[in-house]
């Protein structure tokens, strides 16, 4: 038997230490228990619970999904159980997971974000909040606070004032200058930013001449968006000091490494996990293998080491 020296995959976000940099992304990991048949959640760096509003939400009518080349358009519309049911029925189970549980917080307005956070603050077992100010599927035309630095600042500041937990702000790619929005979130006190949420998109059924998702527009995710997401993560990481969590189309360890090298401190895996529920674990194994191959003792050494000379 060969004795292999341990590789340290852990990352320190300052406000939160993760055993490895791979998190499952919000909305693609359900509330968590859905993945129990496939993996031990304790192996993940963490996972982000599906977006929660204060009250239960009905969601959009179907069809909610359309497949495009290497991509998925979704218009689920944040159907969900609401905070009370989540805290009572799901959270106790998640407390048994040996990993960071991050809750994706949604709101129709600033007051709702604050109410959701205040409610969750009263319950144990949550490592941080991820403010979803970037969902394209709720308002007509896909408008959301993350499309303007001013609106972002307002929501983040209001939540930071009340929250007893660290706050990650999730940014929208449907903007001209994502780094400017990230900077606004940083000024307002966010502890980290995560990007990207989905790209506002559309597909048409030419036989019926109807949009393929009933909501007309939906959010595009999956490998199709990866190069654009990566560019945005690089721009953001070059601009802000707070940790950047990168996501968008990550399906393999090599994809994850691109984001880490470009400046992300951690990554999230979304759509890939719907297709292969063990994708995040394969990525973690691949990162370890990469470290061995490159004789790295700590994976975090490579974060932001991109050579753009």
């Amino acid at each position: 038997m060969t004795v292999r020296s341990a590789v340290d995959l852990s990352v320190d976000l300052g406000f939160l230490r993760l055993k490895n940099p791979v998190l499952a992304a919000s909305g693609t990991f359900g509330y968590g228990p859905e993945f129990e048949p496939f993996l031990d959640p304790g192996r993940l760096g963490g996972f982000v619970v599906k977006g929660l509003h204060f009250d239960p939400r009905p969601g959009n009518p179907p069809p909610r999904l359309a497949e495009t080349p290497s991509g998925l358009i979704n218009a689920v519309g944040l159907q969900g159980v609401g905070v009370a049911s989540f805290c009572e029925k799901t959270l106790p189970r998640l407390r048994g997971y040996k990993t960071a549980v991050i809750v994706n917080v949604c709101g129709a307005d600033t007051e709702e974000y604050v109410r959701v956070v205040e409610y969750l603050d009263g319950h144990e077992g949550i490592a941080a909040y991820e403010l979803n100010i970037s969902c394209p599927n709720v308002k007509a035309g896909g408008a959301c606070p993350a499309q303007s630095p001013a609106a972002t600042r307002k929501v983040v500041a209001a939540v930071k004032k009340r929250s007893r937990r660290p706050v990650i702000t999730k940014l929208s790619p449907n903007v001209t200058d994502v780094a400017a929005v990230a900077a606004a979130a940083e000024e307002a006190g966010t502890d980290a930013v995560s990007l990207v949420n989905t790209f506002l998109a559309m597909a048409v059924d030419v036989e019926t001449r109807r949009p393929k998702v009933a909501n007309v527009y939906g959010g595009l995710s999956g490998p199709a968006i990866r190069p654009i997401a990566l560019r945005m993560v690089h721009q953001t990481a070059s601009r802000v000091r707070i940790p950047v969590i990168g996501l968008g189309g990550i399906a393999t360890a090599s994809d994850a490494l691109e984001f880490l090298i470009a400046g992300a401190r951690a990554v999230q895996v979304g759509t890939a996990g719907l297709v292969d529920p063990r994708a995040a674990l394969d990525i973690i194994d691949g990162l370890e293998e990469y470290c061995r191959r490159h004789s790295l003792q700590r994976l975090s050494e490579i974060c932001g080491t991109i050579d753009v000379r």
Binding site: F29, F35, P62, L65, S70, A224, L274, D276
Partner: protein, 269 residues
């Protein structure tokens, strides 16, 4: 529910655009009940990206059969797979049929369960019929398609020893007309205990109406685009009535089989 990344294809048959694959996957086969489905990865790259759902069509000795029709890129790729190759499966998924539906009713006891399949909708019903017969229940299969080439399993289903009546829209085989017209006729003619159906949406809606009018309990297997198949993405919803209230319900988890009376066909507002 489990992942089997290497289910071996052991046999393959083809009738025009319809295909049958036999997959060796002992654990999934052991757990599967009629009406449940599998999510199959048809390509390792990202084209197509998502797995495709297929009902369990048959089971024997640690193997499962799927029966499918080529509809697009994914089913086309699947049809190109050959014995010896492996497929990545998740299953068995969802909730299946109630095999004892309508058996409690004194009035109908002993009368056959009617199993109504339209086109590729026959897929999960063949497994249902086989299991019900194993339990000693009398089953009559009504199998419909556009033309005789759309009911390729007719000889096999007949050989399996069951009562089978076929219908084709163009009259090229069996009853001339829709399988729902055939169902109407059968129900008028002789007693039945329950109706089970899978097929195109308009067919299911009509089956449900006919069963309700005849006072027969009815279960339908529905379809929707699926992102995951195991309840994580909330992409596959249908309008379902539960305890008097309507909501969007995940068919991969609470279905794909629903009681006909619970399905809301036209959503208001």
């Amino acid at each position: 529910m489990r992942l089997d990344p290497t289910a071996k294809i052991t046999n393959k048959e083809r009738w025009g655009g319809y295909h049958l694959l036999i997959l060796e996957s002992p654990d999934i086969a052991r757990e599967a009940v009629p009406g449940q489905f599998l999510m199959i990865r048809v390509a390792y790259g990202s084209r197509p990206l998502l797995r495709r759902p297929f009902g369990v069509h048959s089971r024997s000795d640690g193997s499962l059969g799927i029966f499918f029709k080529i509809e697009g890129e994914g089913t086309n790729l699947l049809a190109g797979k050959n014995p010896g190759e492996t497929l990545d499966l998740i299953g068995p998924l969802g909730k299946g049929f109630n095999l004892g539906l309508g058996e409690e009713g004194e009035a109908h006891s002993g009368a056959p369960a009617l199993v109504v399949g339209g086109g590729r909708g026959i897929a999960p019903l063949a497994f249902l019929a086989a299991e019900m017969r194993k339990n000693g229940r009398t089953v009559k299969i009504l199998y419909g398609g556009r033309s005789r080439t759309d009911i390729p399993l007719k000889d096999r289903l007949k050989a399996e020893g069951g009562d089978l009546v076929c219908a084709t829209d163009d009259g090229s085989f069996g009853f001339s007309g829709l399988v729902t017209d055939l169902l109407d006729k059968e129900i008028q003619k002789s007693p039945a205990s329950a109706v089970y159906a899978c097929g195109p949406e308009p067919m299911l809606e009509t089956v449900n109406r006919i069963a309700a009018a005849a006072g027969l309990p009815c279960e339908l297997s529905l379809e929707a685009r699926m992102g995951c198949g195991f309840g994580a993405c909330w992409g596959c919803v249908r309008r379902i009535r539960k305890n008097g209230a309507e909501s969007w319900v995940k068919i991969c988890e609470d279905g794909p089989v629903f009681s006909g009376g619970d399905v809301v066909w036209t959503v208001k507002g």
